[in-house]
Symmetry: C2
Subunit: 175 residues, 2 copies
């Protein structure tokens, strides 16, 4: 799947060794950060491929899922950006595409004339359900990770996100 053939060794492990050999600091963090970058790339590629049949990308899929969570199937665009942590312009773009695909439509907010609501259409609801089954069936492309590892990952990354200001307090007591 990657455009390049596999290597006979772990390139990041190798990088860590070289890093230390050169006397650089923070080899652990370097290796962890580089790993996140690489895994992100692989995951995104796999997920987007899984979503292709549904005319979705992961970014747009996330928006759709968020809308299904709201139960009325609608949300102000500002809320979407807030939850997904992306800029207003990015939301506009994502909603544009979802609207073109017929998965969402825009509606004016009943009381606040400034805000626009993204409303999930029936097609959108059907599509997100099908896409979700496809993704969960493939464990989001992360079939190389156990549930225990996944939880561990979440825990560590939640700590980072909290420190980064993603949300106020750390997720101290985990499952």
């Amino acid at each position: 799947m990657p455009s390049t053939p596999r290597l006979p060794f772990d390139p990041i492990r190798r990088a860590r060794e070289n890093w230390q050999a050169h006397g650089f600091d923070e080899p652990d963090v370097m290796a962890a950060v580089t790993s996140i970058m690489r895994v992100h790339q692989v995951l995104l590629q796999r997920i987007d491929r899984l979503l292709e049949p549904y005319d979705l990308t992961f970014a747009r899929y996330e928006v759709l899922v968020l809308l299904t969570f709201s139960r009325t199937g609608e949300l102000p665009l500002s809320r979407v950006g807030e939850r997904l942590q992306v800029s207003p312009a990015s939301v506009t773009n994502a909603i544009d595409r979802l609207e073109r695909s017929g998965y969402v439509r825009r509606e004016p907010h009943p009381t606040d004339g400034r805000t626009t609501l993204a409303v999930l259409t029936d097609a959108g609801r059907d599509t997100v359900d099908a896409a979700t089954r496809s993704l969960t069936g493939a464990r989001f492309g992360a079939d190389g990770i156990s549930d225990a590892d996944a939880r561990q990952l979440f825990r560590i990354l939640a700590g980072f996100r909290a420190a980064a200001g993603d949300y106020p307090e750390a997720a101290a007591g985990d499952r």
Copy 2:
């Protein structure tokens, strides 16, 4: 730093709850994958900001670091793509920019007429050293992670990468 204000709760934890409430499968994997996506975004933003003064992005910085590791300071472009797991076209693009910045120059391979060597210039070497000091000084923007967490992260992600075919065998014995 994010374009959006922080939320009063962890959006991913909330998503996981909703996910389960809707009866979807694989909540652990969903939360882990979403976390990687989010953390990747934050990290990349921070790192690119740190590298801006050096006229570098993380992608190009990685190329430069790889070259310093080769000791002669040169590498065939094909090797670069191999190690960094990106397509030949991406390598061409990255080297183009690095060349324009004066950090690298292209040279024909002495014996194999097909291959081109990327050669680190003195400016390139100075720049990558300075950039590395900047990054390590900021722990790559991942100051919210301890060394122990970083190692744990690397271990779990290495398992995933191995399963994904990044390299043949898992990194069983760590440290």
